[in-house]
């Protein structure tokens, strides 16, 4: 039975866990197909970190919900409308540049979010943030280097990175939208108001894009509907079809 406090907290934890689950899945699709061996290793490593973080977030979500659902149950037995990840993260990988631009735009937000969560009034959340922020610091460092290297590389790599930025920029705004769940988190000292993270994000992203010789799109239009679960893109259903097939085809099996 949900209490008024636990319902938004459950929602918030699903947002964190679904972000890492969905992005971890996307990155793991690269396995064995990266441009160079070092990138294969780095992508697998990032995916591994994100799947580990998913387990931590969704386990706590299950506890908070109090309905006996484990992280696995939440990951593999919810449908599209119950997912709370950002739309940015379910976008297809595209080329390597698109994958790394998505990673950079998310990592910059993710790290600032986790850094704030280290001071959360909820001890479990603070502990997860402490552990995850170490991993995500490295993710951001690597994504930054790659965005700069490819943005300021050849003419082709530059134009591909600019195209990736133009394509993904409309998904940035959703990370900073505040809603009732966020308000409840702010009231209880659990998490920051996402809108407050925007200025530092804009500064960081602006600096990196300048170093990468890339131009930030003028239009700040933002697609929304992922973190609220109101309207995901068509891509998420296909991802879940693959991710959840085994569990749904053999529901009585343990693995």
């Amino acid at each position: 039975m949900s209490t008024p406090v636990s319902a938004p907290l459950f929602e918030y934890l699903c947002r964190m866990g679904d972000n890492t689950l969905v992005l971890g899945h996307r990155i793991s699709e690269w396995c064995g197909h990266a441009p160079v061996l070092e990138e294969d290793i780095a992508l697998a490593n990032t995916a591994l970190d994100l799947i580990g973080q998913t387990t931590l977030w969704l386990d706590v979500a299950g506890e908070v919900e109090g309905a006996g659902r484990t992280a696995d149950k939440l990951a593999f037995h919810r449908d599209v409308w119950d997912f709370r990840n950002l739309l940015l993260l379910e976008q297809p990988n595209g080329d390597f540049g698109q994958t790394m631009m998505r990673q950079f735009l998310f990592d910059a937000w993710h790290l600032s979010q986790l850094t704030a969560l280290k001071g959360s009034s909820n001890e479990q959340i603070a502990a997860i943030a402490e552990k995850s922020s170490k991993e995500v610091t490295y993710h951001l460092e690597r994504a930054t280097d790659t965005v700069i290297g490819l943005g300021d590389g050849t003419e082709e790599s530059h134009s591909r990175m600019q195209a990736a930025l133009d394509l993904l920029w409309p998904y940035v705004g959703e990370m900073f939208l505040s809603d009732d769940v966020d308000a409840a988190m702010v009231d209880t000292g659990i998490a920051p108001d996402p809108a407050t993270l925007r200025p530092a994000y804009d500064k960081l992203v602006g600096d990196v894009l300048t170093a990468a010789t890339l131009t930030k799109p003028q239009d700040d239009f933002a697609h929304k509907g992922g973190k609220s679960g109101k309207r995901h893109s068509e891509h998420l259903g296909h991802m879940l079809t693959q991710m959840q097939w085994l569990q749904r085809a053999y529901p009585d099996a343990t693995w």
């Binding site: 793991s28 070092e38 696995d72 390597f96 490819l150 693995w255």
Partner: protein, 330 residues
């Protein structure tokens, strides 16, 4: 393992008396259990053989990512997904050490990669088989990594220093891989009827190909004799295959699964299991490129390489700009 059908470039094993003083000193050092290091003199044949063997091993690790990568996005639990990711990441890491070991012999990773992509160099035949169910992740870990370990543990004592040292680290990780594979099989074997069926089916499909991983019988092979004299091959193919069968049969029994060999039986006199040889015609077909997945595997690697060209070029161009800027500032 992962290096089948390496033909030695030697003409047969020379006796110490037939060797010139330099070669004799080299062979005596090996005989005494010494290590050969990159800057040491070595016969051309030794160098060429090692490049082929280490290169083939490295390529196997790289192509080997594909059949397992095939199940990462469909792993049944978050923990299994994480373990599989870690395993595939290890394999890419093994590829990296091995390419580095090969580079100490004077070949570049780019050259070896080109030879893989053109089909000039081979990788282990096992990776040309498809992974069709989740139980295949168990069978690959248990049998394929298990067979690899059989060969790689002795290679920690191989005569070429960089190869031996790479193998030490690889072996530690491989044994974790094998255990996780067997753990998947245990869960499946103790699971529902459908899971047991998947487990048996996986064993049925991977048993023969796993036996082939040791390569055909090398009795009387000049090539093997030379490689063994150089200590870049430590045991005969048949010896390792027998050891593998002896180890796997009780493991299969423990799982309650049946090894797909009606003639398999314990031979008291030999102290080993008698078993049926795998289908060597199939093996040679796979080597020729006619395995179930040869075309797809090579196409996937070629696509990754071609699609990644702009990334490699971009990063190189950026690094060159940075170097130039640094020089200009000095």
């Amino acid at each position: 393992m992962y290096a089948q059908m390496i033909k030695s470039t030697g003409e047969g094993v020379k006796s110490l008396d037939e060797m010139d003083p330099q070669e004799r000193a080299f062979q005596e050092r090996i005989n005494a259990g010494g290590k050969i290091e990159p800057k040491d003199w070595m016969p051309d044949g030794y160098r060429k053989n090692l490049i082929r063997q280490i290169g083939q091993h490295a390529h196997s690790e790289i192509v080997g990512q594909l059949p397992e990568g095939n199940w990462i996005t469909r792993a049944p639990t978050l923990e299994r997904k994480a373990i599989l990711l870690a395993k595939v990441q290890d394999e890419a890491g093994h590829g990296l050490y091995l390419y580095c070991a090969a580079e100490t012999l004077g070949v570049t990773r780019d050259q070896l990669t080109r030879d893989l992509l053109s089909g000039k160099m081979k990788y282990s035949s096992i990776f040309n088989y498809p992974t069709l169910t989740w139980a295949d992740m168990g069978a690959v870990g248990w049998l394929v990594d298990g067979a690899a370990i059989m060969n790689q543990v002795p290679l920690q004592r191989t005569s070429y220093g960089p190869y031996a040292r790479a193998m030490v680290r690889i072996c530690k990780e491989e044994s974790f891989h094998q255990r996780q594979g067997y753990d998947i099989m245990m869960k499946m074997a103790q699971g529902t009827d459908a899971q047991r069926k998947m487990a048996q089916d996986a064993l049925n499909r991977f048993w023969g190909p796993a036996l082939m991983m040791f390569g055909p019988s090398d009795e009387n092979s000049v090539h093997s004799a030379q490689s063994m004299a150089w200590k870049i091959k430590m045991n005969s193919n048949d010896e390792l295959r027998q050891k593998f069968v002896d180890e796997c049969v009780p493991q299969a029994e423990y799982l309650g699964l049946t090894v797909p060999d009606p003639d398999l039986k314990w031979n008291e006199e030999r102290g080993h299991y008698d078993f049926t040889q795998p289908d060597w015609d199939e093996f040679f077909d796979v080597l020729k490129g006619n395995g179930p997945c040869n075309t797809e595997r090579l196409a996937a690697r070629n696509k990754a390489w071609d699609d990644g060209a702009w990334v490699r070029d971009g990063l190189m161009a950026h690094a060159a700009k940075k170097r130039a800027a640094k020089l200009a500032a000095e």
